[in-house]
């Protein structure tokens, strides 16, 4: 072989003058290197020098590598002595990130009770006091929310559950922000509180919550979502004669309403659309005893008959409003968890998820829904506290180790422990064939202080 290089690799090295050229590395190559790095490494890399920074920005704008389309999973954390929040990033080969917790007041515990658009909703709880705030774990910025004492049902909650001050996660059902720029004076925070009987709105920094009066004990709110700038609320609606109304639109002024404030314009007006849950609900579809599609887990061995229940979520996918019904089978186990008296505990298992597309008819101001058999190339993430949609294309990273786990047309779901149900479940539901794959084993636990959450970080480069 005439042209074979016979010398070994190492022998041909020569002493060189190390004037590094690495800061001049072409954007395309740096992009290829970044494809093999996790987000944390990419962020650190972006601060090395100006030329790398501009390359990272370019790559970011081209393929959205940095602002990860794939949400992170906040793992349950221990309230006592924890200094970090632990997140799991599914993208690439998968990474764990430890992000510092904010400092709580002395003797307090910090609880995470939701997330929205890059912000975590946290409660700083002591035995006598409870404050709610937004926390951006990427930048470390903390924004205070109005005192919960300004929410009438909070006082009732404390009266009914005086020992539950620490269980802020049960009072705060869901928080939804209108924008990721939470420090903007026009950003609206929407909250579903306690038993879904209170819908309250505020701007970060306001002195009080503004209660939306149409949601009450008799007309609870299942989910809220900002979609195309309008707040959508999933409710049960009927008129005075008990007839069902598919859609009602309200406007509401949010702010501190200081009467003697000459500048009342500081308040923000929010458009709220109440969508009747019944436009998509088909009672016949709800009951599915057992589920043979669960791949990796034995059926529940219950001491009682299995029943079904549903929970519904609003999700936005490419500007389209979706209603999802998560149907759970439940039953009761006779168990002795903490060595006290054994008693019946409710336990659940996902049976299936149904997806409906909401069609609003502008002319007649009504709405209807169409059942979808496929999500197309989308992946949805649902949970009580936050739901979102991402395009599947961006998640099929070349070095993905997840094989068939991460594919389009599937729904990642989370189910946390609550006051009535001790099941913590997390998995993937395939809309194609109804198969369910658990991401980790379902656990039964009493610990309901600490929740798993989907979290989409706002990372700017």
């Amino acid at each position: 072989m005439q042209n074979l290089i016979l010398r070994s690799w190492n022998k041909q090295k020569k002493i060189k003058d190390y004037t590094s050229l690495w800061d001049q590395i072409p954007t395309e190559i740096l992009g290829r290197i970044m494809d093999r790095l996790n987000l944390l490494d990419c962020v650190r890399l972006s601060v090395v020098c100006k030329s790398w920074r501009s390359s990272v920005s370019l790559v970011h704008n081209q393929n959205k590598k940095i602002s990860p389309p794939w949400p992170w999973l906040l793992l349950p954390h221990d309230q006592t002595g924890a200094k970090y929040l632990k997140f799991f990033d599914f993208s690439g080969a998968g990474s764990f990130y430890n992000l510092p917790l904010p400092k709580g007041s002395s003797g307090s515990s910090l609880y995470c009770s939701g997330s929205s658009k890059g912000w975590l909703v946290m409660g700083d709880c002591t035995d006598v006091n409870l404050t709610l705030f937004l926390f951006n774990p990427i930048s470390g910025i903390r924004l205070e929310l109005p005192p919960l004492e300004t929410v009438p049902t909070f006082r009732r909650y404390l009266k009914e559950y005086p020992e539950c001050l620490r269980h802020i996660t049960e009072f705060v059902w869901k928080i939804e922000l209108s924008s990721s720029d939470a420090s903007s004076p026009t950003c609206i925070v929407t909250a579903i509180f306690y038993d879904r009987a209170t819908l309250a709105l505020c701007r970060p920094g306001d002195k009080s919550w503004t209660i939306f009066p149409q949601v009450c004990e008799n007309h609870g709110c299942m989910d809220v979502l900002f979609c195309n700038g309008v707040l959508h609320a999933l409710v049960f609606l009927d008129d005075d004669e008990g007839l069902e109304i598919p859609l009602v639109t309200h406007t509401m002024r949010v702010g501190d309403h200081i009467d003697d404030d000459p500048d009342q314009d500081q308040d923000v007006v929010v458009l709220i659309k109440l969508i009747n849950h019944h436009i998509s609900f088909n009672a016949g579809s709800c009951f599915v005893p057992g589920n043979e599609n669960v791949v990796d887990e034995p059926q529940l061995s219950l001491v009682t008959e299995i029943n079904s229940a549903f929970t519904s979520y609003l999700v936005e996918s490419d500007g389209q409003l979706l209603i999802l019904h998560r149907i759970l089978n439940y039953g009761f186990l006779f168990m002795d968890i903490n060595g006290e008296n054994p008693h019946y505990m409710k336990t659940t298992q996902l049976s299936k998820i149904e997806v409906y597309k909401v069609d609003e008819h502008m002319s007649s101001a009504t709405a209807s829904s169409t059942k979808l058999d496929s999500l197309g190339d989308k992946i949805l993430f649902i949970s009580q506290r936050v739901s979102l949609s991402i395009p599947a294309a961006v998640s099929t990273s070349t070095d993905s180790n997840h094989g068939d786990l991460i594919k389009k047309n599937c729904i990642f779901y989370l189910k946390n422990v609550d006051i009535t149900d001790m099941t913590r479940e997390c998995g993937v539901f395939s809309c194609e064939d109804g198969r369910i794959i658990r991401l980790f084993p379902t656990s039964l636990t009493y610990t309901r202080d600490s929740h798993m959450l989907w979290f989409s970080p706002n990372i700017y480069i």
Binding site: N3, I5, Q12, V43, V47, C49, L99, S139
Partner: protein, 172 residues
């Protein structure tokens, strides 16, 4: 200057060795290499030239030194179909590129990256980007600067602001 272990560079243009056509490549610093066409076409760039009949005279390989080109040719030889008996042996041979042990290694990888990029050699590009990524993983920004001999050109205020924006990446 070493002429590497190249062929007799007496004739330019395409010559043949048996039935195999030889291509003549010339590095930036003037070294000339004769390489079998079947091997050199692992470079998408060269393959394009061959397909377009543009590879009949000496092919100048700009921006790639003779030393680097010799390494590239060695890579091609190893990756020629049938050159290595099995995949495992090839992986073992490739593994010498997996880790960057010192600054000399590091700069060889840089040269190879540039060559692989210019000549468009996917296998080599993959291998080198992987080696760099492995070296970067888990390093702090300052450690990266030290590793690559890069001086920060941000002023202190700018850098503070950048770090503050992504506090999570710089605190632990």
């Amino acid at each position: 200057m070493s002429t590497a272990a190249t062929a007799d560079a007496s004739s330019s243009g395409d010559t043949t060795e048996g039935s195999v056509r030889l291509l003549t490549l010339q590095s930036e610093d003037g070294e000339v290499f004769e390489v079998k066409e079947t091997i050199a076409t692992q470079s998408v760039t060269i393959k394009g030239m061959v397909d377009d009949d543009c590879a009949t005279s000496t092919i100048p390989v700009c921006n790639v030194t003779g030393r680097t080109l010799a390494m590239v040719i060695e890579w091609w030889n190893k990756h020629e179909i049938g050159a290595v008996s099995n995949e495992k042996e090839l992986k073992e041979w490739e593994s010498q590129f997996d880790t960057i042990d010192d600054k000399s290694d590091r700069d060889d990888v840089y040269d190879l990256l540039m060559a692989a990029n210019y000549l468009n050699i996917p296998t080599l590009l993959d291998c080198c980007t992987s080696a760099v990524a492995e070296a970067i993983k888990g390093k702090s920004t300052d450690e990266m600067r030290e590793f690559f001999d890069i001086k920060s050109d941000f002023d202190e205020k700018e850098e503070d602001a950048l770090r503050k924006e992504n506090q999570w990446a710089f605190e632990n």
